[in-house]
């Protein structure tokens, strides 16, 4: 539940940043359309982030088509690592097999770098 709330809050922050933060708007503005999913491996929790020419929208749920996905082993780990905003924690999670990338891995990094501009 906390994981789901975190994703929702993140989506709101990114929507706000796309309108109010020129650096972020510029960062995402060059991408025509990319869909990033953040979800748990069991598909129980998830949210789709849609980037389209400088705008951000999102949909709840883990069953939408996507270009790239950050897949967490479980919601608790996803919450803990994402809330830490730490690259090192994320890398450790990957090394422990608790975070995997699906699809276009580059966009997962692109998404994370964008989030860093905002938070």
């Amino acid at each position: 539940m906390r994981f789901s709330a975190l994703l929702f809050i993140l989506s709101q922050i990114l929507r706000w940043a796309a309108k109010m933060k020129p650096a972020y708007r510029s960062y995402i503005g060059s991408i025509h359309q990319v869909k990033i999913m953040i979800k748990t491996a069991d598909g129980k929790w998830g949210r789709l982030f849609i980037f389209d020419k400088g705008t951000v929208s999102s949909k709840s749920g883990a069953n939408h088509p996507y270009d790239a996905a950050i897949v967490w082993s479980d919601a608790a780990t996803g919450f803990k690592v994402m809330a830490s905003k730490s690259d090192a924690e994320q890398f450790k999670a990957a090394a422990a097999g608790k975070m995997k990338l699906d699809g276009m891995a580059f966009f997962a990094q692109w998404f994370n770098d964008g989030v860093k501009l905002v938070l």
Partner: protein, 555 residues
């Protein structure tokens, strides 16, 4: 008294002084005496169908053999056709020796056939360029050319030879062959710098060694192996350095791929960059976080602080610097850190690892590479050429030196290099299988070289990853301007294998996963130059595409 003409002097010098076994080019009237010199001195000639292929083959020959590669171009259009290959060698620092004809000096400014100022054109893309005006000085000029090509940071050289000096006979005694000197220059970094670098490396908790083409040009894998073994540092080898130590070396983290590198480099505390430039492929150094300490080793002092001020900089040939550095290095074990990198790499590449083992319809390029590897193993020379295709092909695993070269992924991004590189690889290592993974777009640039392969019996297998498009451009356009506004980026279903059959090679057309391996086996069994044209999923975009696209993004 024995007489010799200028063309024969060229052949004599190449054979007797430089021990040149093979040269690449196309015939032409202006260089007829040189061609006869090759005959006289029994130098094998590979005559290609476009001069760019000749320059690229000679460039590749230098990579696969460690000796300078020689190409010959005739005047005017032959020269112009070779420019792409020369420029590519220039940006890759390859020791390419170009011998080029020109219009007669006698006819200067008279509107001679193929009269053009070649020197002004070629100067910016060569390390050294000159015109020889005197027959008896031909050996001297050649000697200078070869020295410039290989000494210090290697690079292409260009020697213009007018017919006025090539066709003229002189007393042989007037043009003695210079003695070839094989000095092993060793630039010794200051001891304080060596110790500073060693201190950083010895105190590192999570170091990473990144080696590039300079590792290959150094030709000292023994020194590299000793450094890695003693320091325990995990390593990745890129560009021409790939395979200097085998991919399955215990300290190798090659299998974490470029994505793993992108994430992993943020977690290192020390990066040892040897013979590798921080160019656009490494986001001009921006890929390295500010808190990471950087030790750079490069033969060119200008590279040490380029795009990132190094914490320690060691100037010199990579191998000799490592020989000097290793005594200062403490014996260490970073295997836990290496395993962390590998594990993280597996998670980050989870999708690709699953696709490798999954038959899909249409065929995924990642799966295609995996199936090729099953047939050819890790004692094969792999070359990849394309945009997205380069990325997919880098997943090949090798124990061959220069065993996986993304020929089109150099600084010049020169599509079309794959086939010439593959041909040169087969000539240099005839007992090894050679596979070129070509995009369908890049295949077109040098496809006619299948004729060269047939004439000269160069049996390589070219596998086309055919997505019916200039894939990287198409997918970039999809990201930037939208799928409904694609421009000049789509090709079509084309039976390239039939073109190859028409030229005397072997052709295969593949649309299903289960057809890949049998088609490859037939291709190798044919003993002919072969083309396996594989239709792959046109929607697949490699991670290299957004990297490429982002690199051209303007604020």
């Amino acid at each position: 008294m024995a007489k010799i003409n200028g063309g024969h002097l060229v052949g004599k010098y190449l054979k007797e002084v430089e021990n040149v076994e093979i040269v690449f080019g196309i015939s032409g009237g202006h260089i007829e005496a040189v061609l006869d010199g090759f005959t006289e001195y029994k130098i094998r000639t590979i005559d290609v169908r476009h001069e760019q292929a000749a320059a690229m083959m000679a460039h590749a020959w230098s990579i696969y053999t460690g000796k300078p590669g020689v190409c010959f171009l005739t005047a005017g259009p032959g020269f112009a056709n070779g420019l792409t290959g020369i420029a590519n060698a220039y940006l890759d620092n390859a020791p390419l020796v170009v011998l080029c004809g020109r219009h007669p000096l006698r006819d200067d400014l008279k509107g001679a056939l193929q009269e053009i100022n070649q020197m002004d054109i070629v100067h910016p893309i060569t390390k050294w360029a000159a015109t020889c005006y005197d027959t008896k000085r031909i050996p001297e000029y050649l000697s200078i050319a070869f020295r410039y090509a290989v000494e210090g940071r290697p690079g292409p050289v260009f020697l213009e030879l007018p017919p006025d000096i090539l066709g003229v006979k002189i007393e042989e005694s007037l043009a003695p062959m210079p003695k070839r000197t094989y000095r092993k220059y060793t630039v010794h970094p200051d001891d304080a710098d060596l110790k500073a670098a060693a201190d950083i490396i010895n105190n590192a908790k999570q170091p990473l060694f990144l080696g590039g083409s300079g590792v290959r040009f150094s030709g000292n894998s023994e020194a590299l192996g000793k450094f890695i073994e003693k320091s325990g540092v995990p390593f990745m080898l890129m560009n021409y350095g790939r395979g200097e130590l085998p991919d399955n070396h215990p300290n190798s983290v090659m299998d974490m791929g470029n994505i793993g590198l992108m994430f992993g480099i943020t977690q290192t505390d020390v990066l040892i960059a040897a013979g590798v430039r921080f160019n656009w492929l490494l986001q001009s150094g921006n890929i390295i976080p500010p808190n990471v300490k950087v030790v750079r080793i490069d033969i060119d002092p200008h590279e040490i602080d380029r795009n990132r001020i190094a914490d320690a900089g060691l100037v010199g040939d990579v191998g000799s610097v490592l020989e000097q550095l290793t005594p200062f290095i403490n014996k260490n074990d970073h295997s836990a850190w290496a395993n962390t990198l590998k594990s993280a790499g597996r998670s980050l590449l989870d999708y690709e690892l699953r696709i490798r083992e999954t038959a899909t319809d249409p065929i995924h390029p990642v799966r295609l590479v995996a199936q090729i590897q099953k047939v050819t193993g890790d004692d094969t020379v792999y070359v990849t050429d394309g945009g997205d295709t380069n990325y997919f092909g880098l997943a090949f695993s090798t124990k061959q030196k220069g065993g996986v070269i993304a020929a089109a992924a150099g600084l010049f991004g020169c599509l079309g290099t794959g086939i010439p590189f593959g041909m040169a690889a087969k000539l240099a290592r005839p007992d090894k299988k050679v596979v070129v993974l070509n995009g369908d777009g890049s295949f077109g640039f040098n496809a006619m070289e299948f004729d060269t392969m047939v004439r000269h019996n160069i049996p390589i297998v070219v596998v086309i990853n055919n997505d019916c498009a200039w894939g990287m451009i198409k997918h970039s356009q999809e990201l930037s301007i939208g799928k409904d506004r694609l421009q000049c980026s789509e090709l079509g279903v084309r039976h390239y294998e039939k073109v190859v059959e028409g030229l005397g090679g072997h052709g295969e057309f593949v649309t299903k996963d289960e057809e890949i391996i049998p088609a490859l086996e037939r291709a190798f069994a044919s003993g002919k130059p072969a083309c396996v044209n594989v239709m792959t999923d046109p929607t697949v975009t490699s991670p290299a595409t957004p990297l490429f696209y982002q690199s051209l993004k303007m604020e």
